[in-house]
Symmetry: C2
């Protein structure tokens, strides 16, 4: 195993670049990382010199003098100069963006239509407070979102616009609670989430989700009395040998029912799950029938059924909403990331008529609100993304390219002794690494395998997204491939072949 990179030392293969402020290392000292404790962030990569490009000045790295609280305090990330289509341009080379941040970039970087729309919005109305002011773009986007969800069988009445995924999930939880308060069911204070689920990084979202690494330090500050967990639906690790999908679903349904009974079914406000689990276990879709089973349990006890599509929603899985592939319609669902494709912060909570009606009949006021609620540039970006998704048939493209990506992943990686599982939907795929394919034993967290694979891939010019704690919240490694919807077949092949090469190169070093 490679030793930790000491600050102040120049290690083979790790070049350094002079920034505007100081000489800093662009390499994360991996072995010092606490695995599973970052926001699934891919590691800052080394910056090799691409053919035909001038060499960056090389000097002994010093402690980063940045005043930004970067994700790793000892290391400067690469500097982004420009981004266009599927590429991000650093100071002296370009990188193929195979993850769009954390599945954020949908219509591609630097789309001229997006920039034109936002420039127009900046020149008319930017920030106004949603207490007094409405804007055409927010009205229109809400109308489009509800209409689209309703064309898919829903009965959605309202969209609540916030900035990020955490704000959306916090709002969904509060909305579910207020729904029952207004109905007079004050005893419904319990929420059921899932182990290994991730619903955001605020304390409320961490309480709802179940990723050990991210919760660890903050457990004493989480409202554990109101938030409870059941097992995830994660077939690769938890479906038993010889157990059919139907039997696995039945087992999970029984567990969820038992959790309702344990809490008292009349005390449960909602069950919440990511339709396709994102960063914590790496693009894990549920097995067939699972969400219908969850919906049945919720309906049986009058609890709300909330789906979190912050990461998986808005086309990424090959349908506009990931829930379309599950044969269920949620009472509330959240979207973010792809909804505005990174052009402006935006998240949304879609609420069905059933959820809203008691509030409309009652106080009429949802007791929550954020400064940038219904932020005009956010909703304008969301509206423009909707137009581009339609005009460029990008959701359909996600589905088509997903079939190709899946085949490429299997072609390149099925025979690899350390690739345990390949899973995903559309342009949302995870590859899970294992030390032993037979036992599914993960690598030791000390190896920092997935971060190193992503680092190596970035050094080869392709950006992926790292994840750890895959197996149990602490051990386990995966990478995510979730590129802009505009990626080509050739680029996908480059991504997959780079992944294979990076994995092999890292494994050769440990």
């Amino acid at each position: 195993m490679r030793p930790a990179l000491p600050l102040g030392a120049l290690v083979r293969g790790h070049t350094c670049v002079r920034t505007t402020t100081s000489i800093t290392t662009f390499r994360r000292p991996l072995a010092t990382m606490a695995p599973g404790l970052v926001d699934g962030a891919a590691a800052p990569a080394s910056l090799p010199i691409a053919a035909g490009m001038a060499a960056a000045p090389v000097a002994a790295p010093t402690k980063s003098s940045s005043h930004v609280m970067h994700r790793h305090l000892g290391v400067m990330p690469l500097k982004a100069i420009r981004a266009e289509g599927c590429y991000i341009y650093g100071e002296n080379r370009r990188f193929l963006d195979a993850c769009g941040g954390a599945a954020v970039v949908s219509v591609g970087h630097g789309d001229k239509r997006m920039i034109a729309a936002l420039t127009e919005q900046l020149n008319s109305v930017n920030y106004v407070h949603s207490g007094n002011w409405a804007t055409d773009c927010s009205e229109e986007l809400a109308e489009v979102l509800c209409a689209e969800a309703n064309e898919r069988g829903g009965d959605f009445a309202r969209a609540y616009f916030a900035l990020g995924g955490s704000e959306a999930v916090e709002s969904a939880v509060k909305l579910a609670r207020q729904h029952f308060v207004e109905k007079g069911e004050l005893q419904r204070t319990n929420f059921i989430g899932r182990d290994q689920g991730f619903n955001g990084n605020t304390l409320g979202c961490l309480a709802l989700g179940g990723h050990k690494g991210r919760r660890k330090h903050f457990e004493p500050m989480l409202a554990s009395g109101a938030f409870h967990k059941v097992s995830p639906c994660y077939a690769y690790r938890h479906q038993k040998e010889g157990e059919s999908e139907a039997e696995y679903v039945a087992r999970l349904e029984t567990e969820l029912e038992a959790k309702f009974q344990e809490l008292g079914p009349e005390t449960v406000a909602a069950f919440c799950a990511e339709t396709v689990v994102g960063a914590t276990t790496g693009c894990v879709p549920a097995v067939k029938g699972y969400f219908q089973a969850c919906r049945r349990v919720c309906d049986r006890h009058g609890a709300l059924f909330i789906l979190d599509e912050v990461m998986s929603g808005m086309g990424r899985t090959g349908t506009l909403h990931a829930w379309e592939q599950e044969g269920v319609i949620p009472d509330i669902f959240t979207v973010a990331k792809g909804i505005s494709g990174g052009y402006a912060p935006l998240s949304a909570v879609l609420a069905s008529r059933k959820v809203i009606e008691p509030i409309e009949r009652g106080s009429k006021v949802f007791v929550s609100g954020f400064t940038f609620q219904s932020y005009s540039c956010g909703t304008r970006a969301g509206l423009e993304v909707q137009k581009i998704l339609k005009s460029d048939r990008l959701v359909e493209r996600c589905a088509e390219m997903g079939v190709f990506l899946e085949a490429e992943l299997h072609r390149c990686l099925d025979d690899h002794p350390n690739v345990g599982n390949i899973r995903g939907r559309g342009l949302f795929w995870g590859v899970e690494f294992v030390a032993d394919k037979g036992t599914k034993e993960p690598f030791s967290p000390k190896v920092g395998l997935s971060s190193r694979v992503v680092d190596d891939a970035i050094s080869k010019g392709v950006v992926m997204y790292t994840g750890s704690g895959t197996a149990d919240g602490v051990a386990g490694d995966h990478i995510l491939i979730c590129p802009p919807y505009t990626i080509t077949r050739e680029q996908l092949t480059e991504v997959v072949e780079t992944l294979r090469a990076a994995l092999d190169d890292v494994l050769a070093q440990i």
Copy 2:
């Protein structure tokens, strides 16, 4: 008292306007509002016909058909078409913006320099993930923010950039906790906030803050075991008759010390307070010496001292940071709103070297992160606001105009039988209404006084910010005046005289 406005009825004085989607009422049915339960949002106002402007079509209002989850579900806010300087333009008249949303707009609306900077940023780099990528604007803004705070006596090492105030406060709390985890002081799990304080609307922020109305529905979902409260420093209501400021401070210091002792001083991670309380009690500054006393208690027991300047920071009080006027330097402080002036979502957590060092020496990774952490358009907006604050001397202007505004408020309102208290700093002022000036008895929450005053002021062309629950979290009314820093003396006089007229007009109706 005016009766509730039934949907479907046309009430005297309330006109309606045809929107793009349907006929909706632009008037909030005030008496149906649950006081204290909105995010201090000023009410959507009626839209009287300004002189010389064409009358809007009047029709019987119907239920709002908007799909946006507006702050009141039965009523459409006014539609904003354009905003420039201190004015927001509706469909057929302009409104003087005397609150900038909730103290958000700092350099004014539609500033061409801001728009040019953001347009340039959109055309270079918009969204990239902070795990892999740095941007010049984030680096530069962090450098400027730390340098400025350090010129004022601080020793700030890092700025953490998020989107909204809630994300910032959540991050500050998590950072304080991780600081102690890395120091090995795992027992420090308790946080002390203040009654009537507001630190944001996520469940973690609601747990830290202490506004009854906003917490009420969600109490069962708050981590009450970790978050505790002491009294606010709110002289108008809580300084006893005959008690000197020094005695009042001593009493509050004793209370805070007692809270530390009750919890076990070694278990307290941090005390957190708004330097000037914002929306919940209406621009209430502390009395002289109070924050020095709080700092003393924290220092005595090794707890961190956190100041929340989400609303009061970045020049609004007449100094760049509100804490400059208190003779203290916090270990961590949060800013938002004015930092980017509404041009893009941005908040920041400034952390002192003392807070960061155990993490830099330890795991090096702050175990938190958001999708839009270090968002380039946000930090670019923040950087441009900094430039404009300096070039246009806007912080100094806040101080100067604040002196004028204070004098105008006293001139126009001191003799009013229902104006209990006028308090604030810079361009951040609150006016508290009372039913009885002698007893300080508030109006019944059923009256919805402050919302109605704001509604009336908007009908007169001036937008202010409403607040209720001022006295005890449920009863009590105030309005906030917190305009763009560019407001003129003439405009301030118009604001204050409109407030007087609106107050009198509303009182005549009840």
